[in-house]
Structures are given as C-alpha cells and as structure tokens.
C-alpha cells in the first residue's frame, strides 16, 4: 500500500468545504456533474425526471460518504467519477428491478458495461436506513419556524450567537428554542 500523498492536503479545504455544506462548492459540484448523468439516463430508457431523482440520490450518498470519511476524495475530479459511478449503479438497479425488466430489452442497454467489478465495494446504503428516512420526513413536515431554526444550526452551521442575533433573541432563549424544536421533530419522527 502506498502512503497517502502529502500534497493532497491542498484539497483538504475543498473536502472541508463539502463537509461544511459550503453552498458555492456544493452547487458547483451539483451543476457541473449533472449533464453527464442526464445523458446516461436519457440514453438508457429514462426520462429527465428520473435522471434528476437518481442524480440527487447519488449526490446525497456521495456527500454522506465524504462526511463520514467512507470516501476520501483525492481531487475534485475523483469526486466527479465517484458520483458518476454511484448514479450509474443506481440507474442500473432501477433498470434491473422487476417493473422495468418487462419493458426493457437487453439490447437497449447498449451503453452500459453491466459488470462493474471495480466499483462493487462502493457503499451507498446510508440513505436506506429507515430511521433516517423517518427523521427526514419529519423534518420536511416540521413547522416553518422550527425548520428554519434547525436548518441554520445544523445545515448552514451558523453560530449560536449569529442565529440569536438574527432572531432578535438572547442566546439562552435561542438555545431553549432549538431544544424545543428538536423535541417536536423527534415526536414527529416517532409517529412515522
């Protein structure tokens, strides 16, 4: 095994930016990689909407894997390749599913190399966790006030001080408000 290349620390800031949900970095990644995947899905019996769904699923999986250090990209281009592979595998799963098997003939899959041995170890199952799904659904349906408060904390990663200022509250009330919002979210998630 080769030692990790020390010059790769140049990309640390990029990986950190992804982990911290830097809006510009995430947007660039998202926008730049979409066209290739749209072409892949459109050429293989899919629609634009399906391309979007598959791509977003893949994007979330890649972001999760980077956050949890399951995938440590060596450069932006290695993220691009990884994202493409996950999206491709997800689309293959759709095509192989029983609903599709009936309507798609093998020859229509011309652009795929069905066997993709080297990428079989890619783990993109994080999002299949039922409890995570419950929380996501609960958060989706949470009231607007709580939703935006929790979003600022956990997604935008704004400081308590800044959020308190934005809400024109003192920091103790903001913390308490956040706690109560979390309780609300949890009770919603439990009902699912």
């Amino acid at each position: 095994m080769q030692e990790k290349n020390p010059t790769l620390s140049l990309n640390d800031s990029f990986i950190e930016a992804v982990k911290n949900n830097d809006p510009q970095v995430l947007k660039n990644l998202y926008v730049n990689n979409y066209p290739k995947i749209e072409i892949l899905v459109l050429r293989n019996s899919g629609s634009k909407d399906q391309a979007k769904d598959i791509y977003q699923d893949a994007f979330l999986a890649v972001w999760q894997n980077i956050k949890q250090d399951k995938f440590i990209p060596k450069s932006e281009s290695s993220i691009n390749g990884y994202l493409y592979t996950i999206a491709k595998n997800k689309w293959l799963d759709v095509l192989r599913s029983s609903g599709y098997k009936k309507t798609i003939v093998a020859s229509q899959l011309g652009h795929f190399e069905i066997k993709d041995e080297e990428n079989n170890d890619i783990d993109d199952d994080i999002l299949k966790d039922k409890r995570l799904e419950d929380v996501m659904l609960a958060f989706k349906n949470l009231g607007q006030a709580c939703k935006s408060l929790l979003r600022m904390f956990y997604f935008e990663k704004k400081s308590m001080k800044l959020i308190a200022e934005e809400l024109a509250l003192d920091s103790a009330s903001t913390r308490n408000k956040k706690y109560r919002c979390m309780q609300k979210l949890k009770s919603l998630a439990l009902k699912n």
Binding site: L10, N11, F14, N21, P23, Q24, V25, L26, K27, N28, Y30, V31, N32, N33, Y34, P35, K36, K52, Q56, F59, L60, W63, Q64, S75, E76, S77, S78, N80, G81, Y84, L127, D129, R131, L132, D134, V135, M136, L137, A138, F139, K140, L150, R151, Y154, F155, R175, N176, Y179, M182, Q183, L185, K186, S187, A189, L190
Partner: protein
C-alpha cells in the same frame, strides 16, 4: 427511538461530542460512558441519526434549488430574451436619466462601455473537472481554484504549467479569462489575442467573446466590435447589437 427523555443539557453535551468539540477530559469521560452504558450509547446513536436526517433533508431541498439553475441553462432562448429585454429597458432608463441630469449625450459613450461590460461579463464557467487522468491533475486542480473564484491562485498554478507549454491554447485561454475576471484586462488582452488566432481552438467562440469584452473594458470599442463579430456566442450578438445602436 427513545428520544423523548433527554434534557437540554444532555442534548447539547452529545451534540458537542458529535461535532468534535469536547475538550480532552470530557471526551475521555464520554467515551467511557459509551463503552459501559448501552442506553447512553443508543441515545447518542439516535441523536446522530436525527442530526444526519436534518442535514440530509435540508440538502435535499437545497438540491432542488440548484436544479432550477440547470433548467434555466437548458432553456437558454427564454433566458436570453428576458435578459436582452431587461437590458434594453435599463439602458433606456439610464439614458433618460443621463439626458435629464447631465443634459449631454457625450457622457453616454464612456459610461456605457463600463456598464455594458458589467452587464455582460460573467466569468467563463470553466471546464468540468471530470477527467481523472493524472497528467492533467495540476491543470484541473487550478480549475477548482478558478471555479471557487480564487483567480489569483488559479493564475499562479496555470502560469507554472505555462512555462513548460507556452503555446498551449487551453492554458493561455484560461489564464486570460482568469485575469479578466480578476479585473486585469491589460494582461488578458494579449493572451486572448494569441488564442483567438487559432481557428481550430475548441473554445474559439468563447475566446472571441471574452476578447471582445476585454477590449470593451479597455474602452476600445472598435476592436471590441471586431472580436464580437467573430463569435457565435448568443451574448456576443446581443452585446454587439447594443454597441451598434
């Protein structure tokens, strides 16, 4: 999920741990509890799931907003029309204001170059960094800086590569547009002029367009028009027709 029975303090304590913000002593204690108290451990796992869920759903909703931009790009005619339309409208307003306040047409020339430039200039979006080949690694690494708006770093990295390949059009083109984006049209112009001479260059239309913009920024309207004429980029035609008015 047994999350109903957790105090505010406990929640904040666990969050601190998950965000890696516990000091070493607390961290040691925390990890000990994780090993010995199964209930505590499952509480921590649950909170981790909740935080991940919030973040993931928030990003998911954000992706739809990102996607709107893609939809806009893939329907350029509509966008182009509205843009030209609003530009004309703004132009009339500015012109009217100038006539009324300054009472002179002559100001219009100098000011409108700046304004047209500002209206039309958006940095070249750069190349998608999808190629994995290692010989291009340095090039694409600088492309990442460029896309992040760090033109200085991008230029420095590309100029290092340029020493080995002084006649590489792609390299010269991106150094040129990076200088232009960094408000340094004097350096951008000769680079883009060089690139624009190669009619085989893949980005030749963009090169003419950005060269035209660079001339415009330098107040050289005649040369700007000549360059824009050679480009088939939509914006180029729109800008040219404004210059010819």
């Amino acid at each position: 999920m047994d999350l109903q029975h957790i105090t505010q303090e406990e929640l904040e304590y666990i969050e601190k741990y998950l965000n890696g913000n516990l000091d070493p002593l607390d961290l040691k204690q925390f990890e000990q509890r994780l090993q010995t108290e199964a209930e505590f451990k499952s509480k921590v796992e649950d909170i981790k799931t909740v935080l991940t869920g919030i973040e993931t759903q928030a990003l998911k909703e954000q992706l739809d907003i990102f996607h709107e931009d893609i939809d806009n790009v893939s329907n350029p005619p509509e966008k182009e029309d509205t843009k030209v339309h609003t530009l004309n409208w703004k132009r009339l307003l500015v012109a009217a204001a100038l006539i009324i306040t300054a009472g002179s047409f002559w100001f219009l020339g100098g000011n409108s170059n700046e304004r047209l430039y500002a209206n039309y200039f958006t940095p070249d979006p750069g190349l998608p960094t999808t190629m994995g080949s290692s010989d291009n690694y340095d090039f694409y690494e600088a492309m990442v800086n460029y896309k992040q708006g760090d033109y200085k770093t991008a230029i420095a990295k590309w100029e290092t590569l340029q020493k080995a390949k002084p006649n590489n059009d792609t390299l010269n083109y991106f150094i040129g547009v990076a200088y232009l984006a960094n408000k340094n049209e004097e350096i951008a112009i000769p680079l883009l002029e060089g690139v624009a001479q190669n009619s085989e260059f893949a980005l030749i239309n963009d090169a003419h367009y950005y060269l035209g913009l660079a001339y415009l920024k330098a107040d050289n309207v005649e040369k700007a028009k000549a360059s824009l004429q050679k480009s088939n980029v939509e914006n180029s035609k729109a800008l040219l027709s404004e210059l010819n008015d």
